[in-house]
């Protein structure tokens, strides 16, 4: 059964299959993000404690989820690469950090702007904030490894192993608010006992998150496309 999928591990076949998906992704992403922003900024109610400040959540939370999910993707792609040795897996994995680091930065910046009016400070060194900053550094490390070994096959292995080591940070980020006292609140949506956020706020948040997910897919696919083109170009020019 799995053998049938093997032909898609060929980068050229993969590109042909994926390109229509890419175009659908960008249109859907623009639509969903616009819809989510309009609903979140104008049609959702203010919070009973935080008032209008709560609207930062629609950007902050959705990009935080994206940064975490992107890492989970990198982890599974790296593991698959190390087991099956299909170059396509690591080719995809190596393009993800460039996009994911943007969402990590957005999360940190919007979180900081949200912290000032609610907590009374831009930054504290509590477990959640610190572990999220470490995620930014891990993404930076992955990008540097990719750059360092740009045209060297060792880069694929180094990248995969480093990303597996860094993956331990993901459960730490998720559960930091439960394991230690933090200034950051505990989880509101993905928690035991269901979401503790009202439906009027949950719907724009979900729309935003899905839109940002599609935007992420679009950006990563664009990167993969140019990475494959670059390899072809290098291969052809090395023949002369």
């Amino acid at each position: 059964m799995l053998k049938k999928l093997h032909k898609y591990a060929n980068p050229n076949k993969f590109i042909l299959v994926v390109m229509p998906i890419k175009n659908i992704c960008i249109y859907a992403a623009v639509f969903l993000i616009a819809l989510g922003l309009v609903l979140g900024l104008f049609f959702s109610p203010p919070d009973y404690q935080q008032g209008e400040t709560v609207r930062i959540m629609y950007i902050h939370v959705s990009s935080a989820w994206m940064s975490l999910f992107a890492y989970v993707l990198i982890f599974f792609l790296s593991v698959s690469y190390l087991i099956w040795k299909f170059p396509l897996f690591v080719l995809i994995a190596k393009e993800i950090p460039f996009v994911a680091i943007i969402f990590t930065l957005i999360t940190l910046i919007t979180g900081s702007l949200w912290g000032k009016p609610t907590w009374g400070t831009y930054w504290v060194w509590d477990a959640r904030l610190t572990s999220f900053l470490i995620l930014l550094f891990i993404y930076l490390g992955l990008i540097f490894i990719d750059k360092t070994f740009k045209y060297n096959a060792n880069g694929d292995l180094s990248f995969s192993y480093l990303s597996i080591v860094g993956a331990i940070n993901i459960p730490i980020i998720k559960f930091s608010v439960d394991w230690w006292n933090t200034l950051h609140q505990p989880a509101s949506v993905i928690r035991a006992g269901g979401p503790s956020i009202s439906v009027e706020m949950l719907i724009p948040l979900m729309i935003m998150s899905f839109g940002i997910f599609l935007l992420f897919i679009y950006l990563v696919l664009t990167n993969i496309q140019s990475a494959i083109d670059e390899r072809k170009f290098l291969f052809l020019s090395s023949k002369d």
């Binding site: 935080q50 959540m57 609610t118 477990a127 597996i164 230690w180 006292n181 609140q185 956020i197 706020m201």
Partner: protein, 144 residues
Amino acid sequence: MFLKNKKLKRFSFLVVACLSISLATFFVLKALDEKIVFFYTPSKLLEKKDDKLEYIRVGGLVKEKSISYSDDGLNVNFMITDNKKFVNVMFRGILPDLFRENQGVVVEGKFNREKKIFFANKVLAKHDENYMPPEIHKALEEEK
């Protein structure tokens, strides 16, 4: 060896690697547990016996009817509690907007054990995981 299959061999190597990384991280975090917590509860603070006047953070709820302002309105005095013990806090400065009775706060400063007063340099407000429109909150309050 019993692991003839190459992929199975690589897979088991990765499983062992992941387990060792998790175990190592677990022990590191366990050892640093005291340092990672952002604040102590009032009970923990009063339990601690070392009498050094160290810079510390204490978190809890602002006790009901415990907030009092000085005549010039700049100094504020309140108690924070974890529903078991409470700590008297003195603070001079601007309070965050979310500061009110029964609100979670974290105060940063020094605890004077003889006078049993916490001199805070900074007051940070916490908010919990509940998000709802004001009308629903009002309805919930009336139901109580």
